[in-house]
């Protein structure tokens, strides 16, 4: 649009938490104070944008002057004045705040398809989306293409379900198209429940229109008239922005009756989840929309045959839908070639845990895990060493450091005993205990088990009890074998995906980190120093300066000592909360 000065302020969930709203406000204040809008006329613009991906550097601010982009990191409202004075008015960037090489490395190696406009456009403005070509794919699909043509393109693109299972999207749509029914539905699964995953949240918040556009194209391809977006209750901002986007679509005539003057009708409604992990499972999600308990049902039919209210339903994940408009516009060959032979395109991951550059990334399928961790992620936090990467959330497993050169695609990860999953990638280092990690995930699945089938309801409970026993120092000979046996049974006999995959975190850590389990059981020792019952805290008298920081912060009054003399921990009073370990500046508190 030829605007010469554009300011982009991150207003995703993380950006807002870091103060993005205030930074945006401050820019607006200063612009009107200096009457910059009067000076530059309509050649300047201040935008709120969605997630930029590099959440650990938020609030991120882009200042684009005549196409020249400068990115600032960790911006607070009181820093805005200097940016306006020096950079905008005098043209001299404030170099000390500029995000340099780290930001560059983070983005080098990424290929953005789904996230292309996330963090670039205002998610609350449909015009911004239209300016970058938004809804031209939907228009093309509705006015120029037949359903069969759309299905062929999606099939040829090799796009696979991004929710985790990786079912070919084109084949699903074809099933939906072929089945005859007067009523059909399109459902978007935005119930992103995996802990440690926020890909779908960022897309719904950062570019909600791309999801709706994907759904419109799917509706045309399958002949559905009604769509639902199921969003989890924990994502209030995503709900708000999706609702705005839907309202704007109705205003523009992109949703409702007679879309693009073609006579085609499609409506979209948001359904807010009420907090249940199992509702990410397709059949449970549909029961939830129907207003029932979200319990999975046996898959006697595919959803595309009998889904919501027993009508044919095409259900895809947020990211899957967001890929579709770009595939329609740029063609299936372009997309397919981005990935590997078996899995086309790119995948969004949320890279978190003990990693330097944590955030949202999008990479071509087939990239090596090493490139993700060390090039994009910048390596491990605090110079420690990598122990494992957990992928696929509670349904996935851990990939040990020695398999770092593995190619990231559906098949290779499955071979390594993990899964691609929806895209959570949590980096663990030597301070993470693998038994504790497995216990953590099992606690999660145990609590989220809907209770319908016995293997999942009772089996995971027994597995969890064994793990609790092991981490509290009461592990017995034979526990490892029992875990393996139970795991195999649960995997083979559970009703839905949640149960079938629930033992994965335990089985995969047993496969690669058996020695850690053995250390807990036989030596009563937690090698990483995490399991509370297996460690005691001690003060190294040689290092203690007697500053008293630990004594003041101890909630149990378990630390004795006088100022400037080495302190001592009364083990009988110590509740092992670890506060002293965290507050000591001299590393005098040790775990033994």
């Amino acid at each position: 649009m030829g605007k010469d000065i554009i300011i982009k302020v991150c207003n995703g969930t993380v950006g807002l938490a870091a103060g993005g709203e205030e930074v945006l406000k401050r820019f607006k204040e200063l612009f009107s104070l200096y009457n910059l809008r009067g000076v530059f006329k309509d050649r300047c613009d201040i935008k709120r944008v969605g997630c930029r991906g590099f959440c650990s550097h938020d609030v991120l601010v882009d200042v684009v002057i005549d196409g020249q982009r400068t990115t600032y990191k960790h911006i607070k409202p009181d820093m805005v004045q200097r940016i306006v004075d020096e950079h905008i008015l005098k043209g001299e960037p404030v170099t000390q705040w500029v995000d340099g090489i780290e930001y560059e490395n983070f983005h080098k190696g990424q290929t953005k398809v789904v996230l292309k406009y996330c963090g670039e456009i205002d998610p609350e403005s449909i015009d911004d989306y239209i300016d970058v070509g938004g809804y031209s794919a939907a228009k093309k699909a509705i006015t120029e293409m037949t359903p069969e043509e759309i299905v062929e393109i999606v099939k040829a693109s090799n796009l696979r379900g991004r929710g985790g299972a990786g079912f070919p999207t084109g084949i699903k749509w074809e099933l939906g198209l072929k089945i005859r029914s007067d009523v059909k539905y399109v459902v978007c699964n935005g119930d992103e429940g995996d802990p440690g995953a926020f890909m779908d949240r960022s897309v719904m918040e950062g570019n909600p229109h791309s999801v709706i556009e994907g759904m419109i194209i799917c509706a045309k391809a399958t002949g559905a008239r009604q769509g639902y977006i199921y969003v989890r209750a924990e994502y209030p901002l995503a709900v708000k922005r999706l609702q705005m986007a839907i309202d704007q679509c109705y205003e523009k005539g992109f949703l409702g009756d007679n879309i693009f003057g073609s006579g085609f009708t499609f409506d979209v409604k948001i359904f807010q989840g009420a907090g249940a992990f199992v509702c990410g499972e397709a059949t449970a999600l549909m029961r939830s929309i129907e207003g029932k308990r979200g319990m999975p049902t046996a898959k006697l039919w595919r959803s595309a045959e009998k889904g919501l209210w027993d009508k044919p339903t095409v259900l895809n994940n947020v990211e899957t839908f967001a890929n579709v408009p770009r595939i329609i516009l740029k063609g299936p060959d372009w997309y397919r070639k981005l990935g590997t032979q078996r899995s086309g395109g790119t995948k969004v991951f949320s890279l978190t845990g003990r990693i330097k550059n944590s955030g949202l990334i999008e990479v071509p399928l087939g990239i090596s895990l090493r490139d993700i961790i060390y090039v994009i992620g910048g390596g491990i936090e605090g110079g420690r060493s990598l122990k494992a990467v957990q992928t696929g959330g509670p349904s996935g497993g851990c990939i040990p450091a020695e398999l770092i050169d593995i190619e990231v695609d559906y098949e290779s990860l499955a071979q390594a005993g993990s899964i691609m999953g929806s895209g959570g990638m949590v980096v663990l280092d030597e301070t993470s205990c693998m038994v504790d990690t497995a216990k953590y995930f099992l606690e999660f699945t145990q609590a989220e088990s809907c209770g319908k089938c016995v293997p999942c309801r009772i089996g995971t409970k027994r597995m969890l009890e064994i793990l609790q026993r092991i981490t509290s120092g009461n592990g017995r000979d034979g526990d490892i074998e029992l875990l393996e046996e139970l795991g195999q049974y649960i995997r083979a006999t559970s009703l839905c995906g949640l149960g079938m995959t629930a033992p994965n975190p335990v089985l995969s850590t047993l496969r690669y980190f058996r020695h850690e389990y053995e250390a807990h059981i036989y030596d009563k020792r937690c090698p990483a120093g995490v399991c509370r019952e297996l460690i005691t805290f001690k003060i190294d008298e040689g290092k203690c300066t007697g500053c008293g920081a630990c004594k003041r912060s101890c909630p149990a009054d378990a630390i004795r000592g006088v100022k400037k003399k080495p302190h001592k921990i009364e083990n009988s009073l110590c509740i092992k909360c670890g506060t002293c370990y965290d507050v000591c500046k001299f590393k005098a508190v040790i775990k033994v």
Partner: protein, 150 residues
């Protein structure tokens, strides 16, 4: 209460809602699901109260008991767990004098809530106090905020 329930009922008719959306509206208005509200709707719609309770106990968004004036939500997602959210919870329980299994202080001033993942892993550990998101927190930071609310 009657008026509020009437309003929720009208909204239910207008938006073609279901039991879940009714409960969501009740929770939004009262902060929990009062028994009277369930009985009122059960009579009005001729749906057994057990269906309402079946759903209310299935989904974690619904609460059957009144909650504290201030709600402290601690994220227990993987990233937050790796960065010590469990320690934060234990410490907070001690500070607020809560025993195992309790989540609300006796004077109804604070409720501690654990949530699976709020999807703000880039700034873990994350704590939400009355709707406001705090990232990269430590126990001192939370205790300071709590002090302000007391």
């Amino acid at each position: 209460m009657e008026n509020v329930l009437e309003e929720i009922y009208n909204n239910y008719l207008k938006s073609e809602g279901n039991v879940i959306t009714i409960l969501q509206d009740i929770e939004r208005h009262f902060g929990y699901i009062p028994e009277e509200a369930v009985i009122w709707f059960s009579n009005k719609l001729d749906i057994p109260a057990s269906r309402f309770y079946g759903i209310a106990t299935f989904y974690s968004q619904f609460h059957l008991k009144p909650r504290g004036k201030n709600v402290i939500t601690i994220c227990r997602g993987t990233a937050c767990h790796v960065k010590g959210s469990e320690k934060l919870i234990n410490r907070l329980m001690i500070e607020l004098d809560l025993k195992e299994g309790e989540d609300t202080t006796e004077d109804l001033s604070f409720t501690i809530e654990r949530v699976n993942c709020v999807g703000a892993c880039g700034i873990s550990p994350v704590v939400i106090i009355n709707g406001e998101v705090y990232g990269n927190v430590n126990i001192d930071k939370i205790l300071r905020e709590i002090k302000k609310l007391r």
